[in-house]
Amino acid sequence: MSYEVVGITVLWTFLYGYLIVASVDFGAGFFSYYTKQRKKNHIIHNIIQRYLSPVWEVTNVFLVFFIIGIIGFFPDTAYYYGTALLVPGSVAIILLAIRGSYYAFATYGAKESKWYSFLYGATGLLIPASLTTVLTISEGGYVRIDNGNVQLLYGELFGSLYSWGVVILAVVSVLFISASFLTYYASRAKDTNALNLLRKYALIWSFPAITMGIVVFFLLNKRNPEHFQNMVELWWMFGISFLSFAIATYFIWKKRNYGTAFILVMIQYFTAFFGYGISHFPYLLYPYLTIYDGFTNETMATALIIAFIAGLLLLIPSLYLLMKLFLFDADYVEGKKSKVL
């Protein structure tokens, strides 16, 4: 494998990691707000708090890692996307800032507030919507470059069916991923009421998630036929994705194997995400930028890869410890261990 491919694979994997952990987090924020409105919050409040409190900061680091990584491996992306994304990027920053800080304020500031939980719920849906703009733009046709000046075509972006399709896909996926994880977590916590409610949410959002996936797939045909063609060639990956989805939903529906069901949901998104990514190859931005134009020098690439491996050796045991203490420790999950700060 060339350095370029190693680099993009590492980054794509981290973006996938962010997709999963952030979806759980974003969706949880929305469910928490929604149930508050419907006065059902007491049912799932503990489950959400117990999972989220120790891990929220880790989620954010996934995103930072991806951004820094892409600038390290592909410095030219900073130039193209940086200039084009000033406004959407700033919107995403602001939403992330509001979400992160108000979560901490609400959780540790020792006061329940409707306003905080509204911010927390609303940003949970708006952030995925704004972040997906990047993927939309990468399909080409949304930026213009005249003599070195990169410009985002707002009319094109807001007027295109494809771009709205992607936004809706992102939002419903977030809700589906989140609900299926929380269903599993509630089942481990032996919290029947929470389980019933969350299971219902998972089933409700399963159908829109898969439908939007298919709809966006066909919208892409109009947007970027070349990419679409490449995706069709990788049909088997999307086949696996669909199959995983079907089995996962079946399990949740039949009230069994919630753990396996969540792993299948992860596989569903893994195959779809990598199918999308591989078929996008080698373009970072159609048709201006491929991974070969924008690549950093070889010395830097080697250094980054070495740093990456060393970093993983440090992180994997630490993440394992985190999961062991909070995800797989039955007493903690069931709320038997004090969680006083």
Binding site: G100, F105, S318
Partner: protein, 451 residues
């Protein structure tokens, strides 16, 4: 009225974000060390007051970390959005430490999550203490890595430019450039210093308000002892930073000191104003001191401003920033040493109101020194973003709308800053030390003197 200039707006927005971030970043680097020291003392002296101190500091810390994390995320995105050309060059040359910084964050974030939620989970207190070590290491490592990036901006090396193309890159040489040793050590130790003084200011304020529990005295004593050590270290390393400037960025030093003529036995100028024809008025002159700061001896020749091309000079107001920082440095060292000395002399009163007020003032002042230090260092590098290689205006975005973004971010930071203060106040007001001591059944120690 004004013509839209993306460079100017980008500079203002970057300044705003960095100046806001660095408040929380400084605390984020410094406070974990203070927490670790307090928890350690609690175990070693078997004194639950120190353990509670660590616990309460950690609880406040998480709120400041949250703001640090979100503003840090904003910086990374903003650097790409506002300085695309700089980030492209940086990606090629100094991407390595930036990349490593994210691992430091990761490491810290994971253990912070564990640390906060495992206070009463282990039988052995030592086990819980061990969890704070990775947080201290992670926080300091992130300061280390990001500061190498800033050092690189001041003293770029480790690459060649052939026909406008960057080649022959050596990431390690870029990381360990001449500015790195002094810059890193000065930044890290001032983070520790500031954290000690902010926490000390809170303790002093509580005592001033009439709370006389020994807990507050112990907190004050702990922060002032550590503060004194860090303050002395800061001054020593600050002096070395001056010597670095003399060698590698003489224009910054000359601008900071309003030093126009190249000469030896140069005096240090404190305060004053500059007249139209560059004459220094009303300033305090310390003979030979600039030569000593620059080279360690009175006969060091210090290059003057007149010997540099006029269009490569930084603005001369950084003189005040430098003076402010140094003045505060001296003040902090003095106050903390007086406190420690008084407290050591058993029959002198270290808790007199004037001294407590002086300690309290040290909190905000230390943060002001951080700000003025950064303004001095960053504005002193103007007009360059990469010293001698790329100017600020070459690096900036050409994008429209930076002005609107500036407005939006001003609002965001105002709201965040205010809420952060409100939340912190409420957190500690609703749960006072005295109340918590009682709740946790910690007996009052009869010994009133903290030591």
């Amino acid at each position: 009225m004004f013509e839209y200039d993306p460079v100017l707006y980008s500079r203002i927005l970057t300044t705003l974000t960095l100046a806001f971030h660095v408040i929380f970043a400084t605390l984020g680097v410094g406070i974990p060390l203070m927490i670790a020291i307090a928890e350690w003392m609690g175990i070693k002296r078997n004194d639950p007051h120190y353990t509670l101190m660590a616990r309460r500091w950690a609880r406040g810390f998480i709120v400041t970390v949250a703001v640090g994390v979100v503003t840090g995320t904003a910086i990374v995105l903003q650097l790409s959005l506002l300085w695309p050309n700089f980030m492209r060059a940086a990606g090629h040359t100094i991407g390595l430490p930036m990349f490593m910084e994210t691992f430091a964050f990761f490491f810290e974030a994971i253990f912070l999550g564990i640390y906060l939620y495992t206070w009463d989970r282990f039988k052995s207190k030592m086990k819980h203490f061990l969890l704070v070590i990775p947080i201290v290491i992670g926080a300091t490592a992130s300061a280390f890595f990001i500061t190498t990036v800033n050092s690189f901006m001041n003293a770029p090396q480790g690459f060649e430019i052939v026909d406008g193309v960057l080649t022959n890159v050596s990431p390690l040489a870029a990381m360990f450039n001449p500015a790195t040793p002094t810059k890193i050590s000065h930044v890290i130790i001032t983070c520790y210093l500031t954290a000690a003084f902010i926490l000390g200011a809170i303790a002093a304020l509580n005592i001033l308000k009439g709370k006389n529990h020994v807990y507050h005295k112990k907190a004050l004593h702990l922060t002032m002892v550590t503060g004194a050590i860090f303050a002395i270290g800061t001054a020593v390393i600050g002096d070395l930073s001056g010597k670095y400037l003399h060698e590698y960025q003489p224009e910054k030093l000359a601008a900071a000191e309003w030093h126009f003529e190249t000469e030896s036995e140069a005096p240090l100028i404190l305060g004053g104003i500059l007249t139209e024809d560059n004459e220094v008025r009303f300033a305090l002159e310390i003979p030979y001191a600039l030569s000593i700061l620059a080279g360690g001896s009175t006969d060091t020749v210090v290059t003057g401003l007149n010997d540099f091309p006029a269009d490569e000079l930084p603005p001369l107001w950084i003189h005040y920033m430098f003076d402010l920082m140094v003045f505060i440095g001296m003040y902090l060292a003095l106050v903390s040493m007086i406190f420690v000395f008084f407290n050591w002399k058993k029959n002198w009163n270290a808790f007199s109101r004037p001294l407590l007020w002086a300690v309290f003032a040290g909190g905000p002042l230390s943060m002001l020194a951080i700000q003025s230090g950064w303004f001095f260092a960053e504005v002193g590098r103007q007009p360059w973003i990469l010293n001698g290689i790329m100017t600020v205006s070459e690096a900036a975005t050409t994008s429209q709308h930076v002005d609107i973004m500036l407005l939006v971010f001003i609002i965001l930071y105002t709201v965040l800053g205010i809420t952060c203060v409100v939340v912190l106040r409420r957190m500690f007001k609703n749960n006072s030390v005295e109340h918590e001591l009682e709740e946790r059944g910690i007996v009052h120690h009869s010994k009133q003197e903290a030591n």
